[in-house]
């Protein structure tokens, strides 16, 4: 049974990625992903005095906190996931899936996997390329020393990992969205969303902050020490339950 569901999830994900590519839905998400790469490339081309490695680490930390995590990942995921879920309803193509012998939970999971793969490749890739590029400002010898003899590789993987976790955590947001948009008839969907949300709230936000390899002290969103706000989680849950209750009660 689980094997069959896993297979169906992969089929849905593969088909969604294919639709995403063929339907040219990648333009704006990839534009967001390309923005920091282009910015760093321009800096490298036109800045006559590249900063030293510790400054570069700080510049990247600001860039990551300010632009990549808060803008690129958030809006990029919004574009990709909204297209994956809402797009099928707007274009009235969701019935192709709804007429297949697939549980609605499997369908949601397949679409989520597709979105996660797309956004992880786009934004994890963008973070990785930008980090590598910016550390190449002082030449290959310094870059090699940073990545292979210094903390560079660990930082690189940490940043890419955090960006990917950002994509994972987006599940929490779009989960609420699709609950209210009532796309399916199954009560199992909100249940699956609840589990996913629990995983994401337990991991993404907390781990993102804990895992940051460099502290951004000077940017518009400086890194603060992590403090658990269980009250916020509780309030958020109440809102979420209310929205799901609404979603399950309105005309299906």
């Amino acid at each position: 049974m689980f094997l069959k569901w896993a297979e169906q999830i992969l089929v849905v994900a593969w088909f969604e990625i294919r639709k995403f590519r063929a339907g040219r839905k990648w333009f704006f998400p990839i534009l967001l992903a390309a923005a920091p790469v282009c910015l760093v490339t321009l800096l490298l081309l036109f800045d006559p005095r590249p900063p030293d490695n510790s400054e570069i680490t700080q510049i990247f930390a600001v860039m990551f906190q300010t632009f990549m995590l808060r803008l690129m990942v958030l809006f990029g995921c919004a574009l990709v996931f909204a297209n994956l879920y809402r797009g099928d309803m707007v274009t009235r193509t969701i019935h192709f899936y709804l007429l297949a012998p697939v549980r609605r939970e499997v369908l949601v999971a397949g679409k989520y996997l597709a979105g996660l793969l797309i956004t992880s490749v786009f934004y994890g890739g963008s973070v990785g390329i930008t980090n590598t590029l910016i550390h190449s400002a002082n030449g290959s010898v310094v870059a090699n020393a940073h990545f292979f003899a210094g903390p560079g590789m660990r930082e690189l993987f940490s940043y890419v990992g955090i960006a990917v976790l950002g994509c994972v955590g987006w599940f929490r947001l779009h989960g609420d969205w699709i609950s209210v948009q009532k796309p399916s008839h199954s009560c199992g969907v909100p249940a699956a969303l609840g589990i996913g949300e629990r995983i994401s709230t337990g991991s993404a936000a907390k781990n993102q902050r804990r895992a940051l390899p460099a502290i951004d002290r000077s940017g518009p969103h400086p890194t603060r020490p992590f403090r658990s706000d269980y009250g916020a989680i509780f309030r958020f849950r109440i809102c979420q339950r209310l929205s799901r209750f609404y979603g399950s009660r309105v005309d299906r």
């Binding site: 089929v11 593969w14 294919r18 192709f96 297949a100 012998p101 697939v102 008839h185």
Partner: protein, 315 residues
């Protein structure tokens, strides 16, 4: 197998969209063969099909398709194929890829899905355009690829919402032949159509709808016979129409007699079909009439439709 496990059963089904009536108090038992849904726009045909295929849920009542319910998609959709009226497709995909991908969701492996997809595409004569993007298809081609999509997994129940729309005459004939072939294999083929003479040709039974209600259902001749308020009409082509007319006038059940303009036939209308046919037989035997043909003039879907739904229900 329970008595209902080999039928499509609607039990007191109603669907309201807010305060707007979709369908109301539908009780149907549909068997194998071609069943046509007939009715004017807004009569509830598409709502009934969407209910039957689980795309929407009834406000009240139950629907069972061969014993399966719509809330168990993994069982239900293996037996059901639906050619919807929605004329939208995912962007960028080819007809073949679309069918293959959805067949993979049915659990077929890649090779099995390819074979079934190709077979379905051949059945709807779309082999040449199969690897083109659906966005580039004409209306008729999109209609045919939807049909291929509905039949690809060999469903027992095939629901077709206006499947002949946009098809040229040749494609219509081919599609009708395909429906008849599928029905001949013992499948349930449920078709909605506006084209009454085609419905008349292909249907084993008819469900007539008006304003969300089923106004008649069953074999079209049986439905017609039950409409006693509308006299049955037959045209008798014979060598002595005047004689037949005079004999008919003496019968109480005959309400209209009219001799054809060419003088070679007589139109008879009666409140009783049995008595009318007995009359014709009696005159043939007693007076030696030579009969070329006896043609029912209002035992078709169009006549029944116009009697039941009237001119307000224009198609």
């Amino acid at each position: 197998m329970t008595p209902e496990a080999d039928r499509i059963v609607f039990s007191d089904v109603s669907k309201f969209y807010g305060e707007v009536l979709g369908v109301n108090k539908i009780n149907l038992r549909i068997g194998p063969g071609i069943t046509s849904l007939v009715g004017p726009n807004g009569s509830g045909k598409t709502t009934l099909m969407n209910l039957l295929t689980g795309l929407i849920r009834p406000t009240r009542g139950d629907i069972e398709v061969l014993g399966a319910r719509t809330d168990d998609p993994e069982t239900f959709y293996r037996n059901v194929g639906y050619c919807t009226q929605f004329d939208t497709f995912p962007k960028g995909v080819t007809g073949f890829a679309l069918i293959c991908s959805l067949l993979r969701l049915h659990g077929f492996d890649r090779q099995g899905a390819d074979e079934l997809a190709w077979k379905a595409i051949e059945q709807v004569h779309m082999t040449e355009a199969a690897h083109r993007r659906v966005a580039g298809y004409s209306k008729g081609m999109r209609q045919r690829i939807k049909l291929a999509l509905a039949i690809a997994h060999n469903p027992i129940v095939l629901v077709l919402d206006e499947p002949l729309n946009g098809l040229d005459p040749m494609a219509r004939a081919e599609s009708i032949a395909l429906f008849q072939k599928l029905a001949g294999e013992g499948r349930f083929v449920i078709v909605s159509s506006h084209i009454l003479h085609e419905v008349d040709i292909i249907s084993d039974s008819v469900v007539m709808m008006s304003n969300g209600y089923v106004v008649a259902e069953g074999d079209i001749q049986e439905v017609r016979e039950e409409m006693s308020e509308h006299p049955i009409g037959i045209l008798v082509r014979c060598d002595k129409p005047a004689l037949l007319a005079s004999r008919a006038f003496s019968e109480n059940h005959v309400v209209e007699v009219r001799i054809d303009d060419d003088g070679a036939g007589v139109l008879l209308r009666s409140r009783s079909a049995d008595q009318l046919y007995t009359l014709v037989n009696r005159v043939v035997l007693a007076d030696g009439l030579t009969v070329e043909g006896v043609i029912p003039v209002d035992e078709d879907v169009h006549s029944v439709y116009s009697y039941l739904i009237g001119s307000n229900g224009r198609l």
